[in-house]
């Protein structure tokens, strides 16, 4: 009886490891929050180079700070994946639809999360919807 239990436990364990090695990426994609992203646009405001980002991308913290989430490439997974990176920003100008921020906030090549169904946290895995 003990032998059977140990063999069953080992078999289940090895099978689960194999399954999650093969299908782990798909499971993570299924469970990760889906987001829509845009590249920030370079523009000039008051003679100053700025990044224009959609207003829907800006979140307001409890202490009044403003932040956005960017989608940075994650190295934690074997599959190509992105994780949300929280970046605190200061807004230069708000035109109602978009806000203008300093280009130094956002690392070059990173997209900004502009729409999401669930709340995001720094470091969580996200799936970018086209």
């Amino acid at each position: 009886m003990r032998t059977k239990i140990i063999i069953a436990a080992l078999a289940v364990f090895i099978l689960s490891v194999a399954v999650f090695n093969v299908c782990g990426g798909a499971v993570r994609d299924l469970l990760s929050p889906k987001v829509k992203c845009v590249f920030p646009e370079y523009t000039v405001y008051n003679g100053r180079t700025c990044l224009r980002i959609p207003k829907s991308a800006v979140y307001y913290g409890e202490s009044g700070e403003m932040y956005v989430f960017t989608a940075r490439e994650s190295e934690k997974y074997r599959e190509a994946a992105y994780e949300a990176a929280k970046i605190v920003i200061t807004i230069f100008y708000d035109d109602g639809d978009s806000v203008y921020i300093s280009p130094t906030y956002i690392p070059s090549g990173q997209k900004i999360v502009c729409e999401t169904e669930t709340s995001l946290e720094d470091g969580i895995r996200i799936v970018i919807e086209s």
Partner: protein, 259 residues
């Protein structure tokens, strides 16, 4: 007088039993503690392990592949090597066997640098093969199986020779079934040796994603403590293997007995 002896013996039994229970508790407590810690926040540790922190899963997979391949390889090679050392007479046999024992006695750090140079030369550095191949040609399993085969009566092999002249048939049909516990013992010990190896992977590998679990566990940060508890629990697989083949391992460490 007899009653006094009985009381004394009973008292000694209780003390011995208590000491054994205490030693068992000391050994088992860390495992129970880790298991309890991993369940402290429900199954989150296991969800992290399988889904959100796959680095542990990858490291564990590396460990399983490396240990299983090395153990299977070591056992397969050792059976034939041990047969030659135990049952085939040729000039220099004892010298080679003693050479094997000397290599076995050497601290593994001595052979680590040559292993590094060889793995670089054969372009297997930073691949699982760099760990598997030295494990396959482990002198310990050869030594263990040689000792077991030496205790087998030659009459068995001579009787088999009447039916066939093929050494391969004799080894696979006669020797292997006869020393099955010894082979299982060699497999479990080879598996455990590879599973717990730390220095070799550190020297023979450089990509973190390819590290086995024993090395990877040293590099996790305190932030990952939750998934770590689940991983630490999975790290006791060799113990499960040992308990599965306990009888064979113990029998395998002894001499061959004709059945």
């Amino acid at each position: 007088m007899e009653l006094a002896d009985m009381v004394k013996r009973r008292f000694l039994d209780i003390i011995v039993a208590s000491l054994i229970c205490l030693s068992a508790a000391v050994v088992v407590f860390p495992v129970i503690f880790v298991a309890a810690s991993s369940l402290r926040s429900g199954f989150n540790a296991y969800i992290d392990f399988y889904i959100w922190e796959p680095r542990y899963l990858y490291a564990l997979t590396n460990s399983i592949i490396i240990s299983a391949a090395a153990a299977v390889g070591a056992t397969s090679v050792s059976v034939f090597a041990a047969y030659v050392f135990a049952k085939v007479r040729f000039r220099g046999r004892d010298f080679i066997f003693y050479f094997y024992i000397i290599v076995m006695m050497m601290p593994f750090q001595v052979t680590l640098l040559p292993q590094y140079i060889i793995s670089k030369t054969f372009s297997i550095y930073d691949t699982p093969l760099a760990l598997i191949l030295p494990g396959v040609f482990s002198p310990f399993t050869v030594f263990l199986l040689t000792q077991i085969m030496k205790s087998m009566p030659d009459d068995m092999i001579e009787a088999a020779r009447l039916d066939t002249s093929s050494t391969l048939v004799i080894v696979t049909r006669i020797i292997i079934p006869a020393i099955k516990p010894g082979i299982i013992c060699a497999f479990v010990l080879a598996f455990a040796e590879q599973w717990n190896a730390v220095a070799e992977p550190l020297v023979l590998m450089e990509t973190h994603e390819k590290f086995p679990l024993a090395v990877f566990l040293n590099q996790v940060s305190a932030n990952d403590a939750l998934a770590l508890t689940a991983v630490a629990l999975f790290a006791v697989i060799p113990f499960l293997l040992f308990s599965l083949f306990e009888a064979q391992v113990i029998e395998g460490l002894g001499e061959y007995r004709l059945k």
